[in-house]
């Protein structure tokens, strides 16, 4: 029952690298699928050979298993000239796909989980910011976020305040915008595309669209992967494994406005795959 909403969303199930290596046998929403083809003509089939829609965008192969897929969200920054598009590989995490997204939306953990990189004590305060469900686009947005970071990006030379903006485009897709050290007037884009294998296990595909012409590709990916591995050590140790939507189960504060909006939004849509609901 909880798969119902999820079936009609789009999920990243491979990237150019996995395509180059040959067919990728993987699991999406508990169903086995095989991802193959080229970036021009990706192919997704199930174990019986039945084909699913497949398209290559934002450095990844996207597919949907439902009969009436919602449109694939747009990330306009992907087409902006001057940005470097950096797919960051895949990280397997034994956690709910929704917990993975919620962690991505959270800044209060930076000083403790990404110590010395995205945050550091005593700079722990989360100043008031704005989080909202935008009904017109059916997305969650968080704006006016500012946070002190010792090394905001690979390209950062010193610590400083970073401005953040978050956008949740689908229950398992979130995009963040953050001020970009070499180009203060622009914003770097970092996204996570979460492939839910089951309600309690996912493959996370980070992807970036950066203004950084100097860093080596390998260095950029390594920086991002290091951060994701730190997040994984948290994500695999949260209980319950599924994300509780009942506000009584986990106690938030003001710093959690984005998470509160995200949970509310999931609940209002019936996007329960990976969630714990009162009656479940």
């Amino acid at each position: 029952m909880s798969r119902e909403y999820a079936l009609n969303d789009w999920y990243a199930v491979g990237d150019a690298q996995t395509l180059a290596r040959g067919p990728r046998r993987t699991v999406l929403l508990e169903q086995e699928v095989i991802v193959s083809g080229t970036t021009d003509h990706p192919k997704v089939v199930d174990a019986e050979g039945a084909a699913y829609p497949a398209t290559f965008k934002y450095g990844h192969v996207w597919t949907s298993l439902g009969d009436a897929p919602r449109p694939l969200f747009n990330i306009p920054e992907a087409d902006e000239p001057g940005r470097r598009l950096v797919p960051c590989g895949v990280v397997r995490v034994k956690c709910s796909p929704l917990r993975a997204v919620e962690n991505f939306l959270d800044i209060a953990h930076f000083p403790f989980v990404h110590t010395g990189i995205l945050g550091s004590e005593p700079h722990t305060e989360v100043a008031p910011y704005k989080a909202e469900i935008r009904d017109d686009v059916d997305e969650v947005w968080a704006t006016k976020i500012s946070f002190y970071q010792p090394q905001a990006a690979k390209s950062a030379e010193a610590g400083g305040d970073t401005q953040y903006l978050y956008r949740v485009a689908a229950p398992t897709t979130a995009v963040l915008y953050k001020t970009c050290p070499p180009k203060p007037e622009a914003m770097d884009v970092i996204a996570i595309f979460v492939q839910p294998r089951t309600e309690t296990e996912c493959d996370v595909w980070p992807w970036m669209a950066l203004y950084d012409e100097t860093s080596e590709y390998a260095g950029l990916v390594q920086f991002q992967q290091e951060i994701f591995l730190q997040d994984r050590s948290i994500l695999e140790n949260q209980r319950p494994v599924k994300l509780p939507l009942d506000p009584k189960m986990e106690i938030p504060t003001r710093a959690d406005l984005t998470s509160i909006a995200y949970r509310r939004w999931l609940k209002s849509k019936g996007a329960f795959y990976g969630a714990m609901t009162e009656d479940a």
Partner: protein, 214 residues
């Protein structure tokens, strides 16, 4: 659930945090800088992070995820994201009763911890985990020779090994896993203890092999 033995106090230095289990309840057991031992539900009320990954700051336990502090009563005392906020009293971990007796950490998940009586003047020997059932463990304790002689079981859990006695406390973790806390006569020498500790290793190995054979 009765009060369970969760190992030796000497293995938990001040400022250390460990994970434990009593009758299916996942616990964080930790020791404040002042030496006090606490046992709580291993779950941060904020976003469910296992508190056993946390760290001790003074006499508080801090959660690894967002650094929230919890004092000895289990109440949240500090939220780093809002340094000036006095955390509401409703933010509180589930606290369990702890007692220290005979150098053993005892915890009850229901009511006040009541340590089991130890039938001799004792000192701590060691704590270990064994993949076996209780009867398998007892059988191994009766079987593994010590300094050439067969052990004698005096009463359940109490064994005579040469000139010494060892008292074996069990905390069943699941069907076939036991956390064992072993005590020895108070006047056993360090040499006795080292030899008896090796005997414990042999007991564990035998209990696990026999389990595989069965």
């Amino acid at each position: 659930m009765q009060t369970a033995p969760l190992g030796l106090l000497r293995d938990l230095d001040p400022k250390r945090v460990m994970r434990a289990q009593v009758g299916g309840q996942d616990l964080v057991v930790w020791r404040a800088s002042n030496g006090d031992v606490s046992a709580w539900d291993n779950r941060c009320p904020h976003r469910g992070m296992a508190l056993s990954h946390g760290f001790v700051r003074g006499n508080d336990l801090a959660c690894l995820y967002h650094g929230w502090h919890y004092g000895s009563t289990g109440a949240c005392s500090y939220i780093p994201a809002h340094p000036d906020l006095d955390p509401p009293e409703t933010i509180k971990t589930a606290v369990f009763s702890v007692a220290i007796a005979d150098g053993v950490i005892w915890v009850s998940t229901k009511g006040v911890a009541q340590p089991a009586p130890v039938p001799m003047a004792s000192q701590p020997l060691r704590c270990f985990h064994v993949q076996a059932r209780s009867d398998g463990l007892a059988h191994a304790c009766r079987t593994v020779a010590f300094e050439g002689g067969a052990p004698e079981q005096i009463e359940p859990g109490l064994y005579r090994l040469g000139a010494r006695r060892v008292f074996v406390l069990e905390n069943p973790l699941d069907e076939d896993r036991i956390q064992v806390t072993a005590l020895v006569d108070a006047d056993a020498t360090p040499n006795d203890c080292a030899a008896l500790s090796r005997w414990c290793d042999a007991v564990r190995r035998l209990a696990q092999t026999e389990k595989v054979a069965a």
